[in-house]
Symmetry: C2
Subunit: 419 residues, 2 copies
């Protein structure tokens, strides 16, 4: 059996995990590793410095290399490097969710043209087996719904807010100190990271291309500790949910935003940095996959799994696992958030409880919106009342009108509620 | 692209689901289906009666058929039929857990010899993607632990006992009326079904053959509603757990028995007929896969996924997904249950609470066994006391001695406790 020769771009956390894991596989040879800084001290057992280069072009242009493993992240120069690598006849394994969300279409098309594969299990939900199962053992299904926790940082923050009863700002600070959140946490807390992931995941699962610009996105920065407490009282947890549904007409509703999730639902029990993905399809019904969504070793598991899949194919003198191709003959039709139907949690502060409940009731009734729960608390220090309602399913644009008409009250929070 | 031609043995619940699902796949042609009774009325849309035969040999000997899909269950005549089919050059897809547990070794060896595959995703945990992920995307891992709920009937019974506070006998009767339990429930409630599944699952995951005769097995028939209540009070749920661990010396401890599972553990939230599998390996850490473990359509999803995988390979003129081969060069070394270390829940009835606690304390202390929880309840009607203890981890043979020495008390239950 011939060794499969790989080049690795990037030797950060994931790269180190991949290097350490591949030491157990004599059928894979690491030919070259490119790094930003050759002089940086690296505490990696068995790492031969002569493998390192600071010029990634040496990898994508090396005729000995069969597979380029891209672990640098970001769009540039990863896009140019991988384009070049595919043109040079290399298979790609990548953990780069942003690149796939923004340029997946061009890259997959190019790879098809050159008879190469791009595998990216590690780009979505770290070590959790997800992409390969969807493309292989679940291939008999029409998947029409995904409901997922895809970002560990925000799930950590929301879990801590819930268990410790503290504010977003307090937990963020602690998470930054512990290294669970970055100094600039925007990518995580505003939902960009989860949006990248659900874009590619929905495309694969639905077999229709979803475009990142059609993915509605809302982060967790406005969630108050009071919302956590009220959600609990009403039987829910608050989670940042990445969700995607597609109907018979290929209309795809794909979004990332906080949601109240019933305590009876499996995602309510996914805590701290764990990720979980609920996949619903026909005939399988619903399956839930969960585990570590990030980290050196879990992510390395997926990168190495992809490398071994390519190795297994190369050694049959067949270049590709046919089921692993990324096929989507057409684009999904986007659905605007205003047109979607949801249940809503609305939290209001007002000076007069009874008057407010009557007012909300009237405004909602006029729009044919029913309320399923009402929670009222007196706030003694200022004689205000806190009123929380959960609506039945109604259209987003109507709820926006409701909020507009509630102008005399303070609407503190509106959060969608998972069914 | 050539159509892959299949023959199906058995047209019961799963067979019907497979037939209905395959209607959407024009690349798969059903050539023949064998049934027990040709005259039985079957309400299956699009079923052409001329496809049916009551002679399964017509399928295994049909030179047109590429893949034999065995959905009849049981060891005989399935074993003879599949042996013949492999010798005749056919790939196998099967949902037969008992056959694989008892004759997997012979069948896989025969298939290797004839360059054929046996795929069996549906045999373990119905629609949950499990076997294919282990063999493909998790292939870079050394899996060393599996902890799973693999039998829907017993999980349904235990869930109902817990939520409704009723006895095993009452729930069994109801489950039988609802069709969740069979008239003779032995295969499920005594743990045989789960034992078959964990035998094959552990073999695949560890890459070492586990033999069914080395799998310790205990059912749920002795679980009392009082145990459910006490477990709850102590922070646990009781589940029938199939568990397998392997150490560096290839010593495999594989068993099925009830366990107390902490309410914080993910398996504690797996209720009714849902199955779940926790897989722990290096580098991935722990992943949890859950979903419907049985039923017409979930099981069909796995059968069809396996058929499509074979189809995808056949059409490259390559006969096999190399990663899907069942390889295990050697047997695992069995571990006797007496030699294992566990935590134990022990429930005792005795006339004198204080005396009993002192006695248990002394007996355990003499064997170096620590107690982590003690729960005592007075039973007013007969002046007896109920005492429940949970031990720290200790060897099974010592616990058996403890029970022996507690001869003056009634030991009502001993249940192992998951860590």
């Amino acid at each position: 059996m011939n060794k499969t020769k790989i080049g690795i771009i990037g030797l950060g956390t994931v790269g180190s995990g991949v290097f350490k894991t591949l030491k157990n596989f004599s059928n894979i040879e690491i030919v070259k590793i490119s790094v930003k800084n050759l002089d940086k001290p690296r505490n990696i057992d068995g790492l031969d410095k002569s493998l390192l280069t600071d010029n990634s072009m040496e990898i994508v242009n090396n005729p000995d290399i069969d597979v380029v493993v891209e672990l640098m992240g970001g769009v540039n120069p990863a896009y140019e490097l991988l384009t070049e690598a595919i043109k040079n006849g290399k298979h790609i394994v990548t953990a780069n969710k942003e690149l796939l969300a923004k340029h997946g279409e061009e890259l997959f098309t190019l790879a098809e043209k050159h008879n190469k594969v791009i595998l990216y299990e590690a780009a979505i939900a770290g070590g959790i087996p997800l992409i390969m199962p969807i493309k292989t053992i679940l291939a008999g299904n029409k998947i029409n719904k995904i409901h997922a926790i895809l970002n560990g940082t925000t799930n950590y923050i929301l879990t801590k807010m819930d268990t410790d009863g503290v504010s977003y700002e307090e937990v963020l600070k602690e998470a930054q100190e512990l290294g669970y959140a970055e100094t600039d946490p925007t990518g995580d807390v505003e939902g960009f990271d989860a949006a990248y992931k659900i874009t590619t995941l929905a495309t694969i699962a639905f077999g229709k291309r979803v475009k990142i610009e059609n993915v509605y996105r809302e982060g967790i920065t406005k969630i108050r500790k009071e919302d956590m407490a009220k959600a609990n009282e009403l039987g829910y947890k608050i989670k940042l949910i990445a969700t995607a549904t597609i109907d018979e007409q290929d209309r795809a509703d794909v979004r990332v935003h906080p949601m109240l999730v019933s305590k009876n639902a499996s995602l309510a029990h996914i805590n701290y940095v764990t990720n979980a993905i609920e996949i619903t399809g026909n005939p399988v019904g619903t399956v839930v996959l969960s585990g570590a969504g990030a980290g050196e070793f879990p992510t390395a598991s997926s990168v190495v799994g992809d490398i071994l899949a390519i190795n297994s194919e190369i050694n049959k003198n067949e270049y590709i696992l046919p089921m692993m191709r990324c096929r989507h003959e057409s684009n999904a039709i986007p659905v605007k958030i205003e047109d979607t139907f949801n249940k809503y949690y609305i939290s209001i502060t007002a000076p007069n409880a009874i008057g407010v409940i009557a007012k909300i009731g009237t405004i909602c009734a006029n729009k044919n919106i029913s309320l399923s729960s009402i929670l009222q608390k007196e706030v003694f220090e200022n004689n205000n009342a806190e009123i929380t309602v959960i609506t039945e399913k109604c259209q987003e644009k109507l709820i926006r009108e409701v909020v507009e008409e509630l102008k005399n009250c303070t609407v503190d929070s509106i959060i969608r509620v998972a069914e």
